[in-house]
Symmetry: C2
Subunit: 335 residues, 2 copies
């Protein structure tokens, strides 16, 4: 008796999405359909080349097999999350979601990413993947996977979906992703803890790197960037997490400060984005934790200032992409 494969649609095929597609297909338990955008032509013509520390360094011309249409068992979303720019994640996946059936796996950074998804798809399980993979699309169709595919996966709480149904969906997804158990894809019921824990890094190193265009190694060499900015932001995030009932200890800050090595220069994603002129994921990485902290009366002055600066940088990205226009007029509202 052959078990039927689960049908997975992947939206967003940069490094993370492509490695998920490869893991799901090569595990033999899933049939993957990929929605590509900028890299579609390269992928169709030549397939995708992958240099992976876990799946092999010389994978050439690989293609996801299926050209599936709904219904899907899972939709994996690995796009960036820029809530103020259309189409939103919900807009993008809506045509492919079968109510009451498709589980939506959000493999994206930050806090409250499920908030706009739940009301649009109230009967669908919403699953959180927090990924620590290192996987980058170096050019269209060329993927470098240089840090292990480690994910913590669990269900978001959604009012109309029973908790056990959502948890089962998360476990079925893990089983399809990692049938041989060779990857570290871990079920983690406490989704909020995992997301706040990862924010300790992202709201500090990631956002300061973007403002300064500085790698994390130089930040640690400077010492003052750590002492004046990184650690204060981390402690603000930890305080906000605790106010929200997520029990992060202050000591987490020192552990996370030592996460990245000091012998190589690494620039986190928001820094890479701003240097490439791409929009940054500001709202879920910085705006939402600030709003959670404010709702609980937690002062977060360092991160609040950085938020204002990131919005200023984002405005410049938008201007350069033709999404905002400067109007030089003497009757400006502030004049």
């Amino acid at each position: 008796m052959t078990q039927e494969k689960v049908r997975v649609l992947i939206v967003g095929t940069g490094g993370v999405g492509t490695m998920a597609a490869y893991a799901l297909e090569s595990g033999g338990k899933a049939e993957v359909t990929a929605v590509m955008r900028s890299n579609y032509d390269a992928a169709v013509k030549n397939g995708i080349d992958i240099d992976s520390i876990e799946h092999g360094h010389d994978i050439k011309g690989w293609r996801p097999t299926a050209r599936g249409s709904p219904p899907f068992d899972f939709i994996l979303v690995t796009t960036k999350n820029i809530p103020d720019v259309k189409p939103t994640v919900a807009d993008l996946i809506a045509p492919a979601v079968t109510p009451g059936k498709t589980a939506i796996v959000l493999s994206q950074n930050g806090l409250n990413i499920e908030k706009p998804i739940i009301p649009r798809f109230p009967t669908n399980p919403i699953i959180s993947s927090v990924s620590y993979i290192g996987a980058t699309e170096k050019s269209h169709g060329k993927i470098l996977h240089d840090d292990a595919d480690f994910q913590k996966i669990g269900a978001f709480s959604s009012p109309e979906v029973p908790a056990d149904v959502a948890a089962d969906a998360a476990k079925r997804y893990i089983a399809a992703y990692n049938p041989a158990g060779k990857l570290e894809i871990v079920y983690e019921a406490d989704v909020r803890f995992v997301r706040w824990r990862k924010l300790v890094y992202n709201s500090s190193f990631n956002s300061i790197a973007a403002v300064l265009r500085m790698d994390t190694a130089r930040m640690r060499m400077s010492q003052h960037v750590i002492d004046d900015l990184i650690r204060p932001i981390m402690l603000e995030i930890i305080a906000a997490a605790r106010a929200c009932g997520v029990d992060l200890a202050d000591e987490v800050a020192e552990t996370v400060i030592k996460t990245d090595p000091t012998d190589t220069a690494f620039k986190p994603s928001m820094c890479q984005d701003v240097e490439k002129g791409n929009l940054m994921e500001i709202e879920n990485i910085v705006g939402e934790p600030l709003r959670e902290g404010a709702a609980h009366g937690v002062p977060m002055p360092t991160l609040r200032t950085v938020y204002g600066l990131l919005k200023g940088l984002q405005l410049q990205v938008k201007e350069n992409r033709g999404m905002w226009e400067a109007k030089f007029e003497a009757d400006n509202p502030y004049q």
Copy 2:
């Protein structure tokens, strides 16, 4: 009976210094010696070309007349002030200062600029010039003077120099600078008020412009840069000033927000510096007001965060100029 000319040495001949040299010489009451650095060759060979809204648009090949040596009646300092980089202002002027005679005129931005000067030259009057001139050296020896030469001048308090002696020196300097009274060079006894007042602009617009590389018109168009960053910093500066006994009203913030026009893009000095890879005047514009505020228990979280970021940018400027070297080692102190 002809009155003897006062002897003035000018250290730092960018736009501000050159226009001071021109005003002092052309007024007929001063003999100016200029210490030039990067622009020396151009100035010696061709003289200096000046396009001035107050002195004439077509001044060609002008040269300061004197090649004087000490004693000087006045030393005017218009260099940038980067206290952590040698030579300091005090180092630079020391060979030309005659104790008990030479009055030292500091035409530089920020707070506490007299602090390192007083102990080195305890018997010399120290004079503050806060300048609102618009004057830029467009290339070596080419000066554009496009906003009126408006200065507020008075004496810093120095323990061993009687207040009336210092005030007289300030008034003599004004008389030599503006003998015909055609410029707005104003005696202002309350030096601290004037300096804190100008900081309301410089610590906010100037520092945020540097971090964002954004002109002040776009800041006002964005609105959120004003609301999230500029106004909070201004109110922190105003609170620190009041704690130091300088009576600035909160309303000053709205006035200063409207200082620059919104129909042209203007980038303040620190932004111009960082874009050109030059060191920024961080300590006197941001560090010193923060330290004054901290000494009086005034919370200044927005400016404190910006200070940390500016120091991070300055480190990058220093690295690019060979003044700091990144050491990629696994045994970094933070590892």
